[in-house]
């Protein structure tokens, strides 16, 4: 039997969770610190190098990857834009199969529902498989505070749990951790001998978990898709821990955002392979499992009860923004993180919130408020690699622009607005523009010495070329004579 609270609580605030009021300053500080750690950055880039190779190989096996993206994006667009019809349809089908649905307007409600279910079930030991929605609602902390021992069964999540850190990447939670660090971690918490073999480390976790699967009485999972046609939930994983989490305990609780609905089972014929290919460079993830409810009469094993918690938590706010509604099409593959130069240089914790990377930067202001989180939309060069990588064609980098526009409208910086107004004034008068340009070129050497705010930010790490003697327009006039 698992002892109460076997996982040690961190004594300091964990990384990756910024206080909203100081989130921007914290972002800049964390980014600078992470960037200085060139070894860490190189390690992450090396790990991703393998992903790029597999992804390219696997993508080439699609006879038309772009058309596959079309199909996937239309499947999600069609579902999300008919959520009013499809979500009730899903719920009716699911409940007809014997499962129970609980509706949660926000994170607090979801936590209360789950704690209530655990109490009703007189649960002692809880095992969890990977669920970003549970991270979003800070479920583990609530369960531990209520005295339940919670173990993350996914290897990466388990490692992060032992480290007292949230996931670094929502598909590869511990991609930033070296094997020797994992060896030390297991030695410290599980008493196992040191090893630098990934196979051995995986076996250590496997042996540790097997006992827990058999002993746990509650399994908590997420869901990747909710199939309206059949009332099944679809769970994708490589390790088999989710299947084990749901096979043996007597109670299964699944948590899902309301936007995970797809209309037809057939939609999975495109979405499952693409989730695997974009997310991990695989043809299919190892286990894709459809659950329709608790064990049926005549079935040998399986939970006696299955509960599904459907979570809003501001998803309806994002739904109401027709321009950015497609951000809800996200299938959480993580491809946008994998290609983002910002993510690769600042790391997953710098974002300071549950969902990192480009898609996280798009949705966080909607889920948690523009005022404190819009710096994430600013922290991008808008290169667009994310949008190109997205299997469901979310217009990610353009949404970052839209977020910036929304912030400028609702909470503009007075100084910035004045600056832009001034630039427009000058740019509307060619003679003034030419004069301003001349002045800029002539004063550049002085400016380099004085280093006013924006210029100093540039000059700290980069040089500026000397100003040319004349502008193009002046040279052109000369040339025409």
């Amino acid at each position: 039997m698992i002892a109460r609270n076997p996982i040690p609580h961190p004594t300091h605030a964990p990384p990756g969770a910024h206080e909203p009021a100081t989130a921007k300053q914290q972002f800049l500080a964390d980014a600078a610190e992470h960037i200085r750690d060139t070894g860490h950055r190189a390690f992450v880039r090396k790990a991703l190098g393998g992903y790029y190779k597999s992804r390219d190989t696997q993508q080439a096996r699609y006879r038309d990857w772009e058309q596959a993206r079309d199909a996937a994006s239309l499947a999600k667009w069609s579902a999300v834009n008919r959520l009013d019809e499809l979500l009730p349809r899903f719920v009716a089908a699911f409940e007809a199969n014997g499962g129970r649905v609980h509706w949660a307007r926000d994170a607090a409600e979801a936590r209360a529902i789950i704690l209530g279910l655990l109490e009703q079930a007189n649960a002692k030991a809880v095992i969890k498989s990977k669920c970003m929605t549970s991270e979003e609602i800070h479920l583990n902390a609530a369960l531990e505070a209520a005295g339940y021992g919670v173990v993350e069964s996914d290897l990466g999540e388990f490692i992060q749990q032992l480290r007292g850190e949230p996931p670094y990447h929502f598909v590869f939670p511990c991609m930033h951790v070296r094997r020797d660090e994992i060896s030390d971690l297991f030695g410290k918490h599980l008493g196992t001998p040191p090893t630098d073999s990934p196979e051995e480390l995986t076996m250590i976790a496997r042996r540790h978990m097997r006992r827990l699967y058999v002993e746990a009485d509650v399994g908590i999972t997420g869901a990747n898709f909710l199939v309206a046609e059949t009332g099944q939930i679809s769970i994708t994983e490589n390790e088999g821990n989710a299947r084990l989490t749901v096979a043996l305990p007597r109670l299964h609780i699944a948590i899902s955002g309301i936007e995970k609905v797809v209309e037809r089972l057939d939609d999975l014929a495109v979405l499952l392979p693409m989730l695997a290919t974009a997310g991990a460079g695989q043809p299919m993830t190892c286990y894709n499992t459809l659950y329709s409810g608790p064990r049926r009469a005549g079935e040998r094993d399986g939970p006696e009860e299955m509960h599904l918690v459907l979570l809003d938590n501001s998803r309806t706010a994002l739904l109401a923004d027709a321009e950015q509604r497609d951000a809800l099409h996200c299938i959480r593959c993580g491809a946008c993180l994998n290609v983002c130069p910002i993510f690769k240089n600042v790391g997953g914790f710098t974002y300071g919130t549950t969902y990192q990377g480009p898609i996280g930067s798009v949705i966080t202001p909607h889920l948690r408020g523009v005022a404190n989180w819009n710096h994430l939309s600013g922290a991008s060069s808008l290169c667009g690699a994310c949008t190109d990588a997205c299997p469901v064609r979310i217009d990610i980098h353009h949404h970052l622009l839209h977020n910036r526009r929304n912030a400028a409208r609702t909470a503009p910086s007075r100084l910035e607005k004045l600056g832009h107004r001034l630039f427009v004034f000058v740019a509307s008068r060619p003679w003034l523009f030419a004069a301003g340009g001349w002045l800029f070129r002539k004063s550049l050497p002085l400016a380099k010495a004085l280093k006013p705010p924006l210029l100093s930010a540039w000059l700290a790490t980069r040089d500026l070329p000397p100003a040319p003697r004349e502008s193009f327009r002046a040279a052109w006039q000369r040339r025409r004579r």
Binding site: S380, S381, L382, T461, L464
Partner: protein
């Protein structure tokens, strides 16, 4: 054809040789080139910062400046993307939308104009150096240009083109991003600059002067002593056969 040059504000004030090289190439091919001095800026800095009302004012002016031009050609992927892709968004549901759509249909990036509009890949240039090409993000992802500059470079006599290991990754400029998040911008320059330098090239060819500013700026500060320091050069300058 009658080509109206679109000279981005940055090129006008800080990199005039790029505009002059573009004009040289076009005239060499037998086209008439004009420069309308009423032009100033495309408005992208305000647009990217989210100040769309301000950007609109600049965009509307640009529509007037280039009204009636047969072809508007600019040596900058990001500025051409602004005019061709984002003006229609910016001016959607306004009386200026038709004019924006009209301008978009006749605005081209320089390399794109040569290959896709004029059907020309060999402009008779010679550039006896080892070069690599940096794909600027706007040109690559907003204008969908990838092969065009490479086709043009392949036809340049005595030029050796090598690809770096990550031609498509962002240099980190991103406009005001470069000074609002300078550490991140610099880290990106470091990564891309390293990749470009590993080709052991003499020149890095780009179709975006802002990328050139970022990369040159980083190289100047970080690759000073020892090792070869590649210099950036605009595609138009290579094709005009005028190395700096």
């Amino acid at each position: 054809m009658n080509v109206s040059l679109f000279i981005p504000c940055f090129v006008d004030q800080m990199a005039p040789q790029v505009g002059l090289a573009a004009a040289t190439v076009l005239e060499r091919l037998g086209h008439t080139v004009e420069f309308r001095p009423a032009q100033t800026c495309c408005g992208q800095p305000s647009f990217n910062a989210g100040y769309w009302d301000e950007a609109k004012a600049v965009a509307i002016r640009a529509l007037e400046v280039f009204a009636g031009a047969e072809a508007v050609v600019g040596p900058s992927g990001s500025c051409v993307a602004m005019m061709r892709v984002f003006y229609t968004q910016l001016l959607a549901d306004t009386p200026h939308e038709p004019a924006a759509l009209d301008l978009a249909a006749r605005t081209f990036e320089f390399g794109e104009f040569l290959v896709n509009k004029l059907g020309v890949t060999d402009v008779g240039a010679r550039f006896p150096h080892r070069v690599t090409y940096h794909d600027g993000c706007h040109g690559l992802r907003e204008l969908r240009l990838k092969d065009e500059p490479r086709q043009l470079l392949a036809a340049v006599r005595d030029l050796e083109l090598v690809e770096c290991d990550e031609p498509e990754s962002c240099c980190g400029f991103g406009g005001l991003f470069s000074v609002k998040f300078p550490m991140v911008s610099t880290a990106m320059a470091e990564v891309k600059g390293g990749s470009l330098a590993r080709t052991d090239c003499d020149y890095i060819v780009s179709s975006d002067p802002s990328c050139q500013l970022q990369l040159d700026g980083w190289f100047a500060k970080n690759l000073a002593a020892g090792g070869k320091r590649p210099r950036t050069i605009h595609l138009a300058e290579v094709l005009a056969g005028e190395p700096r």
